[in-house]
Symmetry: C2
Subunit: 173 residues, 2 copies
DNA sequence: TTTGAAAAATTCTCATGTTAATCAATGGGA
DNA sequence: TCCCATTGATTAACATGAGAATTTTTCAAA
């Protein structure tokens, strides 16, 4: 209902240079999922950033290294997907991570288009150093929020991520 | 399905230049909140991006304009906080949004340090055009996911965002 | 075999995130 | 009144997000 007007109840006219009347929103600033997810994520990350910063790696770099640690040798597409990083971003990151000696890169013998990435011993060392602290934070969240509810939240997030809505603007097949 | 020769299912020592043994992760790649929130948010936004793109505004620009539409005249700090945007980002955005005529900027008479931002009629027009479509997407999500559960999810996200953990690495006092 | 579409990376360009440093204005206390 | 710590905003530098265009390589159909 875009019905506005509704005669601005109260106030107004404390300062009007033009006809900027609609002092009243179309609807109450209802909580939105987009913002809610953003804020929650920001809050969670704020607890990890100090840890990662202490090891001089960004959040995204950590994701890439962690995925390679768990996944072994992967091609760029798989890696980007598992680490939730865009291909162009990954391309840039690979250069830096390789220079810093955390990962190695080499062409796929079978398919010349593919680039295979793999973690190095140095990268594994980083993981073994950061992981414990990371787990500690999650343990803390579990304690404060409740393991049960964390699991429930993860379930909902997962389901939300796999939702297919009307206008298939993102269908991938 | 290309790839997946799965040559080294039996892990270990297929290639070790050093002591790269830990072919096995420290723990199962357990679902993490950080990633879960990221993916869920990405999924949700994928439904809004086309709408915003059609009006040539980014997600962040939309948040700023929307907040100003609802909040009237705000200073940069308030705006940044309500729109969940960092101050440096907002500074950059202000220039662009002002050039495009969506907002106006002027110093605070009382406090010369503050910058007051306000939406323009053009900005309000944008809101009235985008908002309906935006609401449609949320309505769709409500339908698919369940209004009840969306509310529940929002509650959990909000609570998660306000969690205070042990190591006050972000405590604000 | 040749050709053209599709796949996988990369490159470009612009906008924002993140942190640190800097600038400008304010306000309280010596 | 003057000085300085604080506050609010901006700038700088680097990394990533997002989308479009380009390059290289595959692969399948003609």
């Amino acid at each position: 209902m875009p019905n506005k007007t509704d005669s601005d109840a109260g106030q107004t006219s404390a300062f009007d240079t033009e006809a900027v009347k609609p002092r009243r929103p179309l609807r109450e600033p209802r909580r939105s999922l987009a913002i809610g997810l953003l804020r929650a994520r920001e809050a969670v990350m704020s607890h990890f950033r100090p840890i990662l910063a202490a090891h001089d790696v960004t959040e995204q770099q950590w994701r890439v290294i962690r995925v390679l640690y768990e996944g072994g040798k992967l091609d760029a597409t798989e890696l980007a997907d598992k680490a939730s990083i865009l291909a162009p971003s990954l391309t840039r990151m690979i250069r830096l991570l390789e220079e810093r000696g955390f990962i190695t890169k080499h062409k796929d013998e079978a398919d010349g288009r593919r680039v295979l990435l793999q973690i190095t011993p140095a990268g594994e060392t980083l993981v073994t150093e950061v992981m414990p602290e990371s787990l500690k934070v999650y343990a803390d969240i579990d304690a404060r929020f409740g393991v049960q509810r964390v699991e429930q939240l993860l379930d909902m997030l997962q389901e939300l991520a796999s939702l297919k809505l009307e206008n298939g603007s993102v269908g991938e097949e």
